[in-house]
Amino acid sequence: MDSINVHSLLFLLFAAVACAFAVAVVVTSNVVRMAFYLVVSLGATAGLYFLAGADFVGAMQLMIYVGGTLVLLVFGVMLTAQGPFISMRTRAGEWIIAAVVGSSLLGLLLSTAFRVDAWKPPAEAREQTASVTSSRLGGGLLGYRVDRMEQAAAEQADPTLAKNSQGMSGYLMPFEVISVHLLVVLIAAAYLARPKKRVGPREA
């Protein structure tokens, strides 16, 4: 019997937590609990990111998602969580349809996931070194790709390859666009959510 692979063990742990709480989000009908389960699930996902060697993304997940977005959601929950809306039951028929359709989608995705040979686990675990990807990601945003050095070199050597460049292609433009987008969104959100003059239930 081989010794237990710590990496695999951790993966299983995080994966189980992430999946279980994701399912819990679905199953519970109490919106407050839902929010909590979602936090746990997303947190565990961050752990998965770390395990996959994406430490920066994992950190962002924790900071932006768990720390930011979910706080926003919790606020929303708190603002709307009045008696009848805390737990709203769905009719059983919808559950059945959702279960059937969902399980068929799940079956489809799972069968695809395990079908492609290239996605099978490597024969032996690769040595995992502690790495910091933030600087590489930063470089990547600006168009300096640490991971594409060979390609870049090849393109430099042979200009015909450069036409559809695979080498030093960065994400500066999207990055800028997103920054502006974020700004616009925040303003819009603030505008939408501002209190109206005329407040009160139109219908019971």
């Binding site: 028929g93 919808e94 559950w95 059945i96 349809i97 279960a99 359709v101 489809l108 079908r115």
Partner: protein, 812 residues
């Protein structure tokens, strides 16, 4: 010990014992003890004797042939001498015995070894000649292989249990009975004499007939006993002859079965007139002219001759094709072969209640519950599957495709109907239909052993379930599950044995470790279905249907259990009067539940090297020649796209573990859903009902099959009958004024045509356009959540279609 003479004697005696019991009870029934009480002892004694004899037969079989066939590689066999099976002839009417020739070699896959041998072991011979014309013979004979022996043990064991059980269940019939279901015109309930002895009389006749089907050595004898089990079923369904529903159900059962027999007759005729024999196996016959004994080829070796046992068009069929003036005798003869196969299968469709002839079985629940347990779940309805298995060598791939598709449709339809049924026996009846569909499906996709194994395991757990339901009905005097509930506390034996049955039918087990009997057989079927999908992407949809059926099975079985035994009693009056059944009734339940748990367990018997389930190994000995040794997939001649994978294909590790996981997860899903609805009451079934009224009505009315058949067949038949009678009365007198009438009628038809078609077409088009618009409007529900569902559903369907049509091009 010479098995060639002892086996027929043993099984023949086991076969005739119930007949003796029938004759005794028929002639002296009411005089046997008080009100015929001893008739029950006579019948039970007879079937117990049969069981003991069958057991001895099984032991002597294993003593001679062992449980395990020695496994070896196919490669080692390639160069082996391919002599025809050796025959040992003994004096007059000698049974011919074909030895099992097992080449010695080591198997690598210990669990799923290949059993490749030249000619499986079987014993066949004739006992009695009904009629003889030239070289044609109709005989009563036997064909014994390990399948026969296993079936004999299974049938006699279950029948013995049920005989004991019936002594308790039919106790009321010992004295005068007041039938509460029959109200006379004067408002009173019917009062009648008890018919205890008559019940056991029919039961004995049934056992005799059923064993005859199993033992049968040729098609004619099979047909004889096929009809006899049919008529026994008719008697037993109509046991309460005073109830109109019962006698109608009995008639329906018999007539629907006859529809199947119609096809079976066609198949038999096609075989008979081209092969000139009905014998399954090769038989030694004495040549009248020369007096010497020669071997006459049976159906199987005519269809699959030679060392490789590949399916070929027999010479007789080519000649028959040539007689019709056909050019391509090979192809035409192949057609004949397919017709023969499909025809025989029609008989199986009728008896095993497969779509489209499944409608009789639920109605057959009008009979007493022991009958449902014995006849309509474990034995007679399984005879169709048994025959399909027995006749397997004759089925061309095209015929197998028909079998697979019919099985698949059946298992799906029946499972959906069972969801809504509230009559406890009807749920079980539909479950039976569905499980029989599974077996047929397994046979159709090439899983001979899988199908036969499911036949055996299903017989145990389904008769157990029926007997439990009988016990419940005996206690609460109703079939309606909505009036039960909470009975677990009142009748623990029944409740927990039934739970065993439910777990077994759902195929519960710990994956890769151990499980109830259904776990093994269902896994094998699913595995074969996966293997089938690998070679037939076009028909891969059958796998999904089978998986969905498995989930549905688990759902409705646990729904049944929860509704009956858990929760609060829904009808306090009935609950208060409920009580556990007497010992004579629940002891058989315990016996059967032991078998329902363990019959397929892989127990290693000391002295035998191989691992795996003894049941599987025994069945493996009976795998028809040319089926077990198929390498790769066999393709059809007419429809070349159809391929039947070898059963070895499903033993590949990847497929098998996938099947295990699939079967397990579907069963678990069904179980959880049932628990959500009925166990925890987290979801309310009434809500679902109100939400999908059309679907509910559709299922509640059993897909409107009865109404459909009534309109499609029964009414036209009566109409035709009326026409025939009318012709007789009027054809001579009314010819002249008939012509005037014809003119009148013609003008009326013209008018009718004008209104209906010319006008109707225009109107219809307008309505159609409007209707389509409306239909699309209804899609726009405005509900965000449904839109989300549409997106997901669209994705799934898109991928599904892509895999269906591009499966071969894209995949791998």
């Amino acid at each position: 010990m010479d098995l060639a003479s002892t086996l027929p004697t043993l099984l023949g005696a086991a076969w005739l014992l119930p007949l003796a019991s029938f004759v005794i009870v028929w002639l002296f029934g009411p005089r046997l003890g008080h009100a015929g009480k001893h008739a029950g002892y006579v019948a039970t004694g007879a079937i117990l004797g049969s069981f003991v004899l069958a057991l001895i037969a099984l032991l002597s079989w294993t003593g001679k042939h062992g449980v395990f066939v020695e496994a070896h590689h196919d490669e080692s066999h390639a160069g082996a001498p391919t002599a025809p099976p050796r025959s040992e002839s003994s004096p007059s009417k000698s049974p011919v015995q074909f030895r099992l020739v097992a080449a010695a070699a080591e198997g690598e896959h210990a669990d799923y070894a290949h059993y490749d041998h030249e000619g499986k072991a079987y014993y066949t011979g004739d006992w009695y000649t009904l009629a003889k014309f030239g070289k044609l013979q109709l005989t009563i004979g036997y064909y014994i292989d390990s399948l026969t022996v296993v079936m004999f043990c299974m049938v006699t064991l279950i029948a013995s249990c049920i005989h004991f059980y019936a002594q308790g269940y039919m106790h009321d019939e010992l004295h005068d009975v007041e039938d509460h279901e029959v109200t006379l015109s004067d408002g009173h309930h019917l009062h009648r004499r008890g018919r205890y002895h008559r019940f056991f009389q029919y039961l004995s006749l049934f056992c005799f007939s059923m064993l005859g089907v199993v033992l049968s050595g040729n098609m004619a004898m099979t047909f004889v006993f096929w009809e006899l089990v049919g008529v026994c079923s008719y008697f037993l369904i109509g046991f309460y002859i005073e109830r109109k529903s019962a006698s109608t159900a009995a008639n329906k059962a018999f007539i629907v079965n006859r529809v199947g027999d119609f096809g079976m007759l066609i198949g038999m005729m096609a075989l008979w007139s081209s092969l000139g024999t009905f014998n399954f196996g090769d038989m030694a016959v004495e040549d009248a002219a020369s007096g010497e004994t020669r071997s006459q080829a049976g159906i199987f070796s005519q269809v699959r001759p030679g060392p490789s046992h590949e399916l070929v068009v027999p010479e007789g069929m080519k000649q028959a094709a040539a007689a019709t003036g056909s050019e391509d005798t090979e192809r035409c003869g192949y057609w004949l072969l397919v017709i023969a196969g499909v025809g025989i299968f029609c008989g199986c469709v009728g008896k095993s209640a497969q779509f489209p002839l499944h409608t009789w079985l639920p109605d057959a629940m009008e009979g007493p519950t022991p009958v449902s347990a014995l006849v309509h779940s474990a034995t007679m309805v399984a005879a169709g599957v048994y025959l399909a298995g027995r006749f397997y060598p004759v089925f061309a791939p095209e015929a197998l495709l028909v079998i697979a598709v019919i099985g698949c449709i059946t298992l799906f339809i029946a499972a959906t109907i069972a969801i809504t049924a509230v009559d406890i026996k009807r749920v079980l009846a539909y479950s039976t239909v569905s499980q029989l569909g599974y077996m047929m499906f397994a046979l159709g996709v090439g899983g001979w052993v899988a199908g036969m194994m499911h036949l055996v395991t299903h017989a145990f757990f389904k008769s157990l379930l029926f007997m439990c339901s009988g016990s419940v009905i005996h206690a609460v005097h109703t079939n309606d599950m909505t009036k039960m509930g909470g009975l677990r506390k009142k009748m623990p034996w029944t409740a927990y044995t039934m739970l065993v049955g439910c777990l077994a039918i759902a195929g519960a087990g710990i994956p890769f470790l151990v499980g109830f009997s259904g776990y093994y057989s269902k896994d094998a079927i699913i595995a074969q279905a996966i293997a089938y999908k690998e070679v037939n992407p076009l028909w891969g949809v059958t796998l999904f249907v089978a998986a969905g059926g498995a989930a549905t099975t688990a759902f409705y079985m646990f729904r049944l259990w929860y509704m009956t035994f858990s929760g609060q009693p829904r009808d306090a009056h009935k609950y208060d009067h409920a009580h556990e059944s007497p010992k004579v009734m629940y002891y058989p339940l315990v016996v059967l539940s032991v078998f329902a748990i363990a019959v397929a367990w892989p127990i290693t018997i000391v002295g035998d090297a191989a691992e795996g389930s003894p049941l599987v190994h025994l069945l493996n000995q009976a795998v028809p020649d040319g089926v077990g040794s198929m390498e790769g997939a066999v393709r059809g001649t007419l429809a070349a796209s159809v391929a039947i994978p070898s059963e070895h294909a499903s033993h590949v590790d990847a497929i098998h573990s996938a099947a295990t996981m699939l079967a397990f997860s579907t069963a678990l899903g069904g179980f959880l859903l049932a628990t959500l609805f009925y166990g925890w009451k987290y979801l309310d079934p009434a809500e679902v009902r109100n939400q999908f009224p059309q679907v509910y009505r559709f299922l509640w009315n059993k897909w409107w099959f009865d109404e459909l058949y009534d309109a499609l067949f029964v009414k036209p038949a009566h109409l035709l009958a009326a026409v025939a009678a009318w012709l007789d009365k009027n054809v001579l007198d009314r010819i002249i004024d008939g012509s005037a009438k014809v003119t009148l009628v013609a003008s009326r038809y013209d008018d009718w045509f004008d209104r209906l078609f010319v006008d109707g077409l225009v109107n219809w088009f307008g309505r159609w356009t409007y209707g389509v618009g409306l239909a699309f409007r209804r899609l726009q529900t405005g509900s965000v959540r449904q839109y989300a569902m549409f997106v997901v559903l669209g994705t799934v369907v898109l991928f599904f279609l892509l895999s269906l049509f591009l499966g071969t091009a894209v995949g791998r």
